[in-house]
Symmetry: C2
Subunit: 211 residues, 2 copies
């Protein structure tokens, strides 16, 4: 172990990736997995798997492999997904609604506790038994009252910067941004961008190379 060393960003991305097949193996009743098998399931190099895990501890047994259940629980401790995180969503168009209804979030401990939209038609709508759409003017109040930690932006791009500013103003700790523009953020707020079209552009580029 070498917990002192700075942990590569790429390692953190992959750690979360490893947990997906581990869940499957656990469901299938498979008890032990080797770095080679896990690497194959995640399409990475076996040495990569071992090195990534070694940043956080010695979770394996030499000659045997990793205990699936134990490894999964260690990973959940590392990426702090052994507890619930509170999310707020802003922008309840097609994508926003789909995100709120998507059960993958809750399954991994991400719970939407507030929802905002500027459209008068949407405000007041009950989109889940415990989730009523509120106007953006309530963002500051609601975020601090409920202790929301992560804000999800799924507004049209023209509004996303203004929304980000409101979230930051309300002292939100992190933002997941689905709009195709980079959000400016000063200070301690973390931002992750998810832009589908960047992924498609990537595919298009490589297809174009093949001819």
């Amino acid at each position: 172990m070498k917990r002192e060393t700075r942990i590569p960003n790429a390692t953190i991305e992959r750690i979360s990736l490893y947990s997906r097949p581990l869940e499957e193996l656990l469901n299938k009743g498979i008890r032990v997995v080797s770095s080679e098998k896990l690497a194959e399931l995640c399409k990475v190099n076996p040495a990569q798997v071992r090195k990534d895990l070694s940043y956080f501890g010695e979770f394996g047994v030499r000659g045997i492999g990793y205990a699936v259940k134990n490894l999964l629980s260690e990973i959940r401790k590392i990426i702090v997904s052994d507890r619930e995180w509170k999310l707020a969503i802003v922008g309840l168009g097609n994508l926003g609604m789909a995100l709120v209804r998507h059960d993958n979030f809750l399954k991994r401990g991400y719970r939407f506790v507030a929802a905002f939209d500027s459209s008068p038609r949407k405000i007041g709508e009950m989109i889940r038994s415990d989730l009523v759409v509120q106007p953006p003017s309530k963002i500051h109040l609601v975020i601090s009252e409920l202790g929301v930690e992560i804000g999800v932006i799924s507004t049209p791009p023209s509004q996303s910067q203004a929304v980000a500013d409101m979230l930051i103003e309300a002292r939100i700790r992190a933002i997941l941004n689905f709009s195709p523009i980079q959000v400016r953020h000063s200070g301690p707020c973390l931002v992750q961008n998810v832009d589908f079209t960047v992924r498609l552009d990537n595919l298009a580029y490589h297809l174009g190379q093949e001819g």
Copy 2:
């Protein structure tokens, strides 16, 4: 220029990123942009911008900067988004429907020309004036008849591998996978994965570090 050199993967990701603010600058009527300004808008290093672009040609003018309109059109040629790509979507739950309706795709030249779902309730539904839901058994036929190039998977994870196999069987050239499992793919089919929860895990990890 050094078109012979292998182009870093990271460069290709960023090239597509650069086009977003360029579109905005063009709309605002701004004619010229420096690497410094563009870098600021994309949150990268100015030298990075220059180097990335230099892999593909000499688009700038020393002492002046880059002509916005020209640079944008060059970038569109590089990532082959100066033409239309044909997409098929499989899985029309909340997320799938949101993707089909999301106008960002069409705006950038990605057009859904076919839609599949296994639910009898969905089959036959007209989700757009030119798009009727078909059963997965039609995948092979439709893909080859329409010449679909990219498949989008938004099924539940339990079905995603089977769907991927069908798409690959139908000789699709690339897959954009929204389900949280890595799709196995042999042969020449390209795959890109989009897993929202990996992004959230990343935020959670860093928030956990801060205490």
